[in-house]
Symmetry: C2
Subunit: 348 residues, 2 copies
């Protein structure tokens, strides 16, 4: 388990540069000596196993060695040649795997290849949290959905209806940037677009495509002069989930996706079909409420901020009420300067 | 500072048994040897200084010793003889004090007595958090007011209006019992009385008088069959802050206090006048709102619980809105099983 822990640490070294690929780390060990380590560094780049093998001072030394790898090695030729084959060729005789790959293209096949080539395979159960979206997507054919909001100590998200309130401090703001950097799509509703006029971008730019989505039931309300549309690029396009095509000319890199009744469920379905593994819903209260009411979310990230807004301010959820309380479980608590980040997971 | 830290730890050993008295700890030191320690153990009992002196193996040994005491020694004869006098008689020649006593009966006089008897006095600034209410009361002639509520991850305190929701788990429940044990009065409004029918008692019984208060603008709505009144005793009486005297017969140990318009400010004033140093406001949302709107509070204790209640549920604050956001500062964060306790202090 010591070497697997080391491989797990190795895996997240270049987080979030692997984008849609899983984070993977590998450690090669022989006679209780670490011969080499490696991780998947960047989307499209060599896999962790290959990097570890390439880092061997002397490839001969790996004869009879054990590889600890956090995810099942691949056996198919994708962007890179299959890892399982390379492991066998290097003379590694034992592979300890942290988690079977949930991707059906790989799942079980890497293990099969290794075993059929007389490599001993041991499968542990040490799934990497950083691969939650990857895992969830392949198991459920749905994106992992995170609802995010900042709220005051009395549970409000905006002081007055027509004006934006910046609630949190710099550390929570930075943390939110990390959340965005680690998601493949961000979604907001029309009120947030109108009131906040957000860019929904990532500081220093997204490393890979970050799709920014706005949902509307009245496409003609949209103003393409909003920052969101003005900052649309090929790498960071804007999708409008709309009830119909707009009358106006649509700017470049803005895609209109028409459906008469967008629900949280069919948004999720649509995103899954186009291969999006993770979605961050950043509000406002009506959109958050829609995802909650339909139980279309996996996680809630909230920043509780030391303010009171009182009764006239906007609550976290607005719209159709819940039939019954929805149970969550507390996943983590973190103090970020004067704000507190709470992460909850859905449990029913 | 090492010995003062020791004295501060000593001070809170029997928390909350000192009730309205401050928590005090004392350590007697000579030639870097600890000769004795003591603390104020129970309301009406000997003071920390006396206990420390009584714990000396040999009273002669304290000649020329230094006493570290967290609060200024008293110089008046109250329930016990004055400590300053006893310190002088024991032959202690230096007294290091953590905090000047805010009680005007003592403040500065203990130091004066010691100095006029040739004892060297050093005053540090190490106020004990456990004496916050004591200090605040004597400085401001107002009780230290703590607002307490449990809220869901979407900022709601009750799922349906007419029915009580138990929100938190056992650890948060126990923590709330500690809050009650450390306050001198608890207050709720009529809705809480009707819906929750609470006793507002402390598990195992309050050590000292715990005054339980209900505020009403319509005294005839009160049902004396409620548990609150049924459990009224001499030690734990119930006060009704009412608009007028009720038509019904008032049970024993229930006191009706009549004023045409009870506000948070005049409740605070009334309690100060009768010597109550600390008040815990436990809801509901209208009463909490009243204390917030009038800025009549010092602290907020909230337990955030892993549930979502949605839009139909009761928010933390109901009633007149705030003119502007009220700033708090985050004092502490504590995970209590599945709940998170956040403590805020008011900063404007």
């Amino acid at each position: 388990m010591f070497y697997m822990q080391m491989a797990l640490k190795e895996a997240v070294k270049d987080h979030p540069r692997t984008w849609k690929n899983p984070k993977v780390g590998a450690v090669i060990v022989k006679d209780d000596q670490i011969l080499a380590r490696g991780h998947h560094e960047i989307f499209g780049g060599p896999h962790a196993e290959v990097n570890a093998i390439n880092h061997l001072a002397d490839e001969e030394s790996a004869q009879g060695a054990t590889m600890y790898v956090t995810l099942e090695p691949c056996s198919h030729t994708g962007k890179t040649p299959p890892c399982a084959k390379m492991i066998v060729e290097t003379g590694i005789t034992t592979v300890v795997i942290g988690e079977v790959d949930p991707n059906p293209l790989v799942s079980g096949k890497g293990i099969e290849y290794l075993e059929s080539h007389h490599v001993k395979v041991i499968v542990l159960n040490t799934p990497l949290a950083a691969n939650d979206a990857y895992r969830f997507y392949f198991r459920n054919h749905r994106p992992l959905i995170t609802l995010k909001y900042a709220m005051t100590a009395d549970g409000r998200i905006n002081f007055s209806n027509g004006q934006r309130s910046r609630l949190t401090g710099q550390e929570a703001f930075n943390d939110n940037q990390d959340l965005r950097q680690n998601t493949q799509a961000i979604l907001v509703g029309m009120n947030t677009l109108k009131i906040d006029d957000p860019e929904l971008t990532v500081r220093n730019g997204a490393i890979f495509s970050l799709i920014r989505i706005v949902v509307t039931h009245n496409v003609d309300e949209i103003k393409f002069s909003n920052k969101l549309f003005q900052t649309a690029t090929k790498e960071s396009p804007v999708w409008v989930m709309a009830n119909q095509d707009p009358q106006k000319t649509v700017p470049e890199n803005v895609k209109i996706i028409v459906k008469s009744g967008w629900t949280a469920a069919n948004i999720s379905e649509y995103l899954a079909d186009v291969g999006i593994q993770s979605l961050l819903v950043e509000g406002g209260s009506q959109v958050l409420n829609q995802f909650v009411a339909e139980k279309q979310f996996n996680r809630i990230v909230t920043y509780v901020t030391p303010l009171l807004f009182g009764n006239q301010a906007l609550p976290v959820l607005t719209g159709i009420g819940l039939q019954e309380p929805l149970k969550l479980s507390l996943a983590s608590v973190e103090t970020l300067a004067n704000d507190v980040k709470l992460v909850f997971e859905r449990s029913n």
